[in-house]
Point group: C3
Chain length 153, copies 3
C-alpha cells in the first residue's frame, strides 16, 4: 500500500498572476507549497498524524494535500479559501475540510468550522481542536485564494 | 514506482448534508469509504487486480479510487452516480468508468455499461463481465450521489 | 514518503467518443497513456528528473501526471490542449504548466510558453529550455483534446 502520512500543517496564500494557472501557482508559492507536486486528497487526518508547523517538503515531492482554491478575473472581487483540520479527542482519525468562495476570510472560517463540526457529529467523534487556516484576496486582474493541509512523513 | 493495486470492489452511496462538501462526505460514509484519503485515478483495472468485496481500508489510508459524484441543492431533483469495472476475458488490464448526472439509477447503469463496452471495443479487448454499482438520491436540501471503485493491495 | 519521479516525457492526443468520458479515454489512448491510472499532480519537475521519450508505462500503473484537457460536444468547434515543461538551467526543480481551451494549437502553445516563463520569473530561475506538446481537435460530435507530462521512475 501507499505509506500513510504522519504529519500535517495548515497553510494559505493569495496572489495575482497573468493567467489563472499562474495565479494559482503564485498562491501556492505564498502558501509555501509551490515547489512540490500536489496530490489532491479527500481528506481524512490519519490516526497518529501530528501537527508539525516546521516540516520541509523536498523539491518536487509527491505531496498528499487537501486543499480549496478559487480563481477570479473580476477586478475588485473578494475571494477567500479556508482549510480546517478537525483533531479528534481520542486516538482515531480526524477530518479535513476545504472551502472556497466569494466571501471574506471570516465568513470562510465560520463556514469551515461548521463543516468540521458536522463531519465529527456524523461520525460520533469528539473534537479536541480545530486547526484553521484561511486567506482572503481582493482581485486586481486575475487572482487566486488557496488554503491547504499538506500531509507528510 | 508507486505500487500497483491488486484488489478492487465497487461501492455507492447517497446522502444529504448541511453543505455540499459535507453531503459528499456523508455519501462517502454511506459507501464505506468515508474514513480514508481518496486519491482519484483515471481509471484502469490493472492486470491481476481481483474483485474482493471484503477488504477493509485502514483509517486515513491513501486509497487509489475511481469515482463519479454529483451534488445538488435543488430540492426534489433526482441525481445518480454509477461506476463500472470492465473485467477482461484475457489476462490483461480492464477499464473503469464513472458517471454521474441528473437521472435515475437505471439510466446511469445503462449509460455506464455502454461506456465500458466502448472502451473495450476501442482496445480490441473481450469483456468477461462488468461489475456495476449505482445509486440514486432524491435531493431534500443538499444531496450527493457517489459511486466508486476503490483499488487496494 | 512517496517516491519522487525521475523521468518525464510530453504527450498529446485528440479524439472523438460516444460520451464525454470515452472521448477523454480515446484521447488518452492516442497520447499513449490510455492504459495506466492517471494520478493528476500540480505540477513541478523534480530536480534531476530527466527527459526520456522512450519509457514504457506498465499496464494499470499509478502514474503521476500533469495534464490539461477539454471536452466539447459542439460540432465544428476547435479545441486544443497543451503541456509545457520548463527545464531549469541549474540543478533544481522546474515547472510544468497545462492549458486547454477553445483555440488553435498555435494559440495554446503561445499561451503555455508565457505561463512557464512567468513561473520561472517568479521563482528567479533561469530557463534552459521548454519542452512543449500540444494538440488541436475539431469536434465532430463529442471530442476531447488532451496534453500531458507523465512522470516516471
Amino acid at each position: 500500500m501507499l505509506p500513510t502520512p504522519k504529519k500535517f500543517k495548515v497553510v494559505a496564500g493569495g496572489a495575482e498572476g497573468r493567467s489563472k494557472l499562474t495565479a494559482f501557482d503564485n498562491a501556492l508559492l505564498k502558501a509555501g507549497v509551490g515547489n512540490v507536486n500536489l496530490l489532491k486528497v479527500s481528506s481524512i487526518l490519519p490516526p497518529s498524524c501530528e501537527f508539525d508547523a516546521d516540516f520541509v517538503l523536498p523539491l518536487g515531492a509527491l505531496t498528499p494535500i487537501a486543499y480549496g482554491s478559487i480563481v477570479s478575473d473580476v477586478p475588485g472581487e473578494t475571494i477567500a479559501a479556508a482549510v480546517a483540520v478537525g483533531v479528534p479527542a481520542e486516538e482515531t482519525m480526524g477530518v479535513i475540510m476545504e472551502f472556497s468562495g466569494k466571501c471574506t476570510k471570516e465568513e470562510a472560517e465560520t463556514t469551515i468550522r461548521k463543516m468540521v463540526e458536522e463531519a465529527f457529529e456524523v461520525r460520533n467523534l469528539e473534537l479536541k481542536e480545530i486547526k484553521v487556516c484561511a486567506v482572503e484576496h481582493k482581485v486586481e486582474k486575475i487572482g487566486c485564494a488557496f488554503a491547504a493541509a499538506p500531509l507528510w512523513y
